[in-house]
């Protein structure tokens, strides 16, 4: 099932962009760890391959897969129709958007007009969610949402803790992890919404997609998938059945 050239090398070369805790980040010893990493290690083991992680810029992972430098990408990629035009995705998780605020505040994610919302730059929340919500505010004649795009998720979260922003919007696993790190200085607002699948991108038409899918189905059956997700506190987003190209929008 694994393409011949990958099988021959015995290595699965994985492009990863860090930091995106708790999915992929470095621990105190400088090792790349996280939910995505544990899952990919288990997948590689199932396929009889040695995983080799290569740090990359987020925007360069898909071009590097197309160019053949990486076999697969692993960086909390949301499987979207747009991205499916460049690569194939194998879905492995369901993440939504979640907001957080300082305890006691009453920010409404559906009506944040006139509020300051912190996000990490280039995320789905910065490029899609907030611009759409901002337009709705303007159309209704209300004040605009002030979108504060930070370079890193840590800076975006810290802005809310320090009072520079009113709320932070990010992928659900990330916000849940940030709330845990903030030690009582942040609280979740409502529930996770607009869920979308995370997927591993592989080269268009590569047989590796089917191999990854089968391997994940195996891990779901054995219960290893659940163990890994629970270890990282992201069991809310587990899926039952991986698919190839499962974008919802």
């Amino acid at each position: 099932m694994v393409p011949e050239d990958i099988k021959a090398s015995g290595k699965l070369i994985i492009g990863v962009n860090i930091p995106y805790a708790p999915n992929e980040f470095k621990d105190a010893g400088g090792e790349i760890v996280g939910f995505d990493v544990d899952l990919m290690n288990a997948i590689a083991e199932t396929l009889g391959l040695t995983p080799e992680y290569r740090e990359s810029d987020f925007g360069k992972i898909i071009p590097s897969i197309q160019g053949g430098t990486y076999n697969v990408g692993m960086s909390s990629f949301t499987d979207t129709k747009e991205r499916e035009r460049s690569v194939d995705f194998v879905t492995y998780f369901s993440a939504g958007t979640l907001w957080a605020q300082r305890p006691g505040d009453s920010i409404d994610p559906d009506n944040a007009c006139g509020k300051k919302v912190a996000v990490q730059a280039t995320t789905h929340q910065e490029t899609d969610e907030l611009p759409t919500k901002n337009q709705a505010c303007l159309d209704a004649g209300k004040p605009a949402i002030e979108i504060m795009a930070f370079d890193g998720q840590d800076a975006a979260t810290n802005a809310v803790v320090l009072g520079q922003a009113d709320a932070v919007s990010a992928d659900s696993p990330v916000v849940l992890y940030a709330i845990k790190q903030a030690d009582g200085k942040l609280e979740q607002i409502g529930e996770v919404f607009s869920s979308a699948p995370y997927g591993w991108p592989v080269a268009k038409g590569s047989a590796l997609a089917a191999a990854l899918q089968k391997a994940l189905e195996h891990l779901i059956e054995t219960g290893d998938y659940e163990t890994i997700a629970t270890n990282w506190g992201v069991e809310q987003g587990m899926i039952d059945k991986p698919v190839i190209n499962g974008a919802v929008n």
């Binding site: 810029d57 360069k60 160019g67 890193g152 810290n158 940030a178």
Partner: protein
């Protein structure tokens, strides 16, 4: 009357008073004190986290990698810069044009963009083959199978810096008056000796200060190698690794700033002594040592 003129009343000389200096100094002290007090008591600075990570093993590793990147890339840049400067001053038009085009490209595009390009190099050029063009291949290197972000970062920084160093060195050589070369030739010196004994020692006085500047600038430019991405230098480790894990960016930025400042301070001391060495004899003013020797000679004390 003539007696009066012979002995004028002694002048009561007092130093010029500067009351406003005292006022401004006091005001600045108060403002600095208030700022320090505010910083010390503001929880946003996270001083306990700062103390915890200042001498963290990973941070020290980042400092070491930053220093290595700085030194290696500057050494390569200076050597390449000398070559390019000589090429630009050479009478050979091919050399002049090659050097000019190199400068045009590497000085004309942002270093960040160049580093991104170097990061994509193994994707663009998937393998390197050495051999006879259209003939047999002698050596084949599969770039895609290698992972060498440190080397790519080093190449990116060094090639960019070489363009600046070439201009600094060219300016230094051109600053030595033509008469110096003419005089050396008149004394029968060869071109190589003229360069070594006459031109370069005088050019160094002009080259050293901006080169020191470039070293300090390079130390901080290394923080851009995250574009490659090479993430094991000081900024990468403090910001993209530790701060991203513990979600406290401010104290970690302060840790990085402290180390950059410490390294820059050491470099500034080195630059001071280097500059003093190469500006020997450039000024007519005597140094404290020379004045002392002169004074001793005047009073007849034997030379030590």
């Amino acid at each position: 009357m003539s007696d009066d003129r012979a002995t004028p009343a002694p002048i009561d000389a007092v130093p010029l008073r500067h009351p406003w200096r005292w006022v401004t100094a006091a005001a600045i002290l108060v403002i600095v004190g208030l700022f320090l007090w505010g910083a010390a008591t503001n929880p946003a600075y996270g001083w306990s986290t700062y103390r915890e990570y200042l001498f963290n093993e990973r941070v020290l590793k980042g400092v070491w990698n930053t220093l290595q990147l700085t030194v290696y890339s500057m050494v390569i840049a200076i050597i390449l810069g000398v070559v390019l400067a000589v090429m630009r001053l050479s009478p050979n038009p091919v050399f002049r044009w090659v050097a000019w085009v190199y400068l045009w490209i590497f000085r004309g595009t942002p270093v960040y963009v160049q580093l991104v390009f170097w990061g994509l190099f193994p994707t663009i050029y998937q393998n390197i083959q050495l051999g006879v063009p259209f003939g047999p291949s002698l050596l084949h290197i599969d770039l895609q199978n290698l992972s060498f972000p440190f080397l790519l970062a080093l190449i990116g920084l060094a090639l960019n810096e070489a363009a600046y160093m070439a201009e600094i060195i060219r300016a230094g050589i051109s600053s030595v008056p033509e008469g110096q070369t003419e005089a050396s030739i008149a004394l029968g010196m060869s071109w190589a000796m003229t360069m070594r004994r006459t031109v370069l020692p005088q050019a160094m006085r002009v080259i050293i200060p901006p080169t020191g500047n470039e070293v300090i600038s390079m130390l901080k430019t290394t923080s851009l190698v995250t574009a490659v991405p090479y993430t094991m230098e000081l900024y990468g480790i403090t910001s993209r690794e530790i701060a991203a894990r513990i979600f406290e960016p401010i104290p970690l930025l302060l840790v990085a700033a402290t180390w950059y400042l410490a390294a820059t301070s050491v470099l500034m001391v080195g630059q001071y002594y280097l500059e003093r060495y190469f500006s020997r004899g450039a000024s007519r003013k005597l140094t404290a040592k020379q004045l002392e020797a002169l004074a001793k000679e005047q009073i007849g004390e034997p030379h030590p």
